[in-house]
């Protein structure tokens, strides 16, 4: 093999000096985690509301919920990213004014977070709907029989059960979200994959840089898996589903 590996490249300084390559990757990791965390909150909020709407008796609300899911599910995430970054500010003049004045990284962060948050909300809405619909019909009827309003029925009976059931699919959606943050590099956000490629281009140590990023992504995936498994165990309903023993 004509390739020699040099892992000490991470301890070298960038050409501008003062910053090491490992620090450059780390700064990318913070952007990745920051975008993932903020868009996760958006996704959970919207996803829960939209998913719930899709299980109500109102035809209008069900239609709107379905339309939301289909809209975000049938356009490639990359194209959605372009729409949020290039197109939406043009259509909203005040936003455009802010984008022009703001630092590029702030505008990129906002676009990427909104894009990933709403994209993932459609996927979470699908899981929430499935979770609510998997509950026995009797739960809904019992809630109505003891005089709960629709809001109370969802708040105290259906959603607490549904969320526990859908923790495993929510785990994989969370992992998808973290992986999808890498698509933000197409609008110039300097997240982990962006920095990894940049490091490769500066040093020609692509193999070392990509390996480091791969290991970091695996570590993130494993951590997210563990955290969600812990939540699943903590919130399991005794004697129900595959949960507590």
């Amino acid at each position: 093999m004509g390739i020699s590996l040099d892992w000490s490249v991470f301890l070298q300084e960038l050409p501008e000096g003062g910053v090491f390559y490992w620090e450059m990757l780390l700064s990318g990791l913070w952007w990745t985690l920051g975008v993932a965390a903020c868009s996760w909150i958006i996704a959970m909020l919207f996803g829960s509301v939209i998913g719930t709407l899709r299980t109500t008796d109102s035809r209008v609300l069900v239609f709107l919920g379905n339309a939301w899911v289909e809209l975000f599910r049938n356009i490639p995430l990359l194209v959605q990213m372009f729409l949020w970054y290039f197109v939406v500010p043009e259509l909203v003049p005040p936003l455009k004014a802010w984008v022009v004045a703001a630092e590029p990284s702030h505008a990129q962060f906002l676009s990427a977070t909104l894009c990933l948050g709403l994209f993932t909300s459609a996927r979470i809405a699908e899981q929430v709907r499935a979770g609510i619909q998997s509950l026995p019909r009797g739960q809904r009827h019992a809630a109505q029989a003891i005089g709960l309003t629709t809001a109370q029925m969802y708040r105290f009976v259906l959603l607490p059960m549904a969320f526990r059931i859908i923790i495993p699919p929510l785990t994989s959606e969370t992992m998808n979200l973290i992986k999808n943050t890498s698509i933000a590099l197409t609008i110039g956000l300097a997240e982990l994959t962006f920095r990894t490629r940049e490091m490769g281009e500066y040093t020609f140590r692509f193999f070392e840089a990509f390996t480091a990023a791969t290991l970091v992504y695996i570590a993130i995936a494993m951590t997210a898996n563990r955290v969600m498994a812990l939540i699943e165990r903590r919130t399991a309903v005794p004697g129900y589903i595959a949960g507590g023993k």
Binding site: M1, G2, I3, E70, L71, R73, N74, I75, P76, L77, L78, V79, Q80, F82, L83, F86, V87, E90, L91, M175, K179, N180, T181, S182, I183, L185, T186, T193, T196, R197, G200, F206, F207, F210, A213, T214, Y217, I218, A221, M222
Partner: protein
């Protein structure tokens, strides 16, 4: 705000070329991914420990890193591997379009593997026992009894995954391949008409994917009735 939708009319031949590449990439990656994915699934389910561990490791690796990073990996690795394998003096120029095909086959194989594994595991054990009782060997059991049923059960999921693949191929943009999005981006930047181009691209993808997903749902209902 002034929109000029006429830029799309002039760009249509170039966009169509991009779309042809997108469709070609989707078709080859789906078929190749299904083929290697099925092999991986058989490996994962095999009683030979090293084989199943290798397959599981490959699938988990592919599934835990972002597709963009996978694309960068292969864009870097394919020429290097070819150089070593063929004994060239310098890495050959493979080109983004051809690299993307290899990348997507390898990446999709991991996802199709999980689908086929679920499909194979959904077949009642009695089927395998019956095949063995008839005197079929392993490859005959798989080829004639298990896999045809697994494919059939998994057709809706396989098609849904292919729709996702169709959308994911847009990411070849990151290595500057000229797929549908790549073609649109190039023209958008040349003419300074980003809004019209990207909105048009979004509408085209939406119409195709929404129609296909409705068709898959229809098919799912049909298959469910027969069973």
């Amino acid at each position: 705000m002034d929109f000029d939708w006429s830029v799309i009319g002039g760009a249509l031949p170039y966009l169509w070329k991009g779309m042809q590449y997108t469709l070609e990439l989707t078709a080859i990656a789906a078929l190749g991914g299904l083929f290697f994915g099925t092999l991986l699934a058989l490996a994962r389910l095999s009683p030979i420990k090293p084989l199943s561990m290798f397959a599981a490791g490959y699938v988990n690796l592919m599934r835990s890193i972002p597709l963009v990073l996978v694309i960068f990996w292969f864009f870097f690795l394919v020429p290097v591997i070819l150089q070593v394998a063929m004994g060239y003096e310098r890495p050959p120029q493979v080109g983004a379009e051809r690299t993307a095909i290899i990348t997507f086959i390898m990446f999709e194989a991991a996802y199709f593997c999980e689908i086929m594994r679920a499909g194979i595991q959904s077949i009642p054990r009695g089927q395998i026992h019956a095949a063995q009782a008839l005197g079929l060997n392993y490859s005959q059991t798989m080829r004639l009894v298990v896999l045809p049923q697994a494919f059939r059960n998994m057709i809706p999921v396989l098609l849904t995954q292919t729709i996702i693949l169709f959308q994911d191929t847009s990411l070849v943009y990151v290595i500057s391949a000229t797929d549908f999005v790549g073609a649109a981006a190039k023209i958008a930047q040349r003419d300074g008409r980003l809004i019209e181009m990207y909105v048009f691209v979004a509408i085209v993808y939406f119409i195709i994917c929404f129609t296909l997903s409705l068709a898959v749902r229809q098919l799912q209902r049909k298959i469910a009735v027969i069973r």
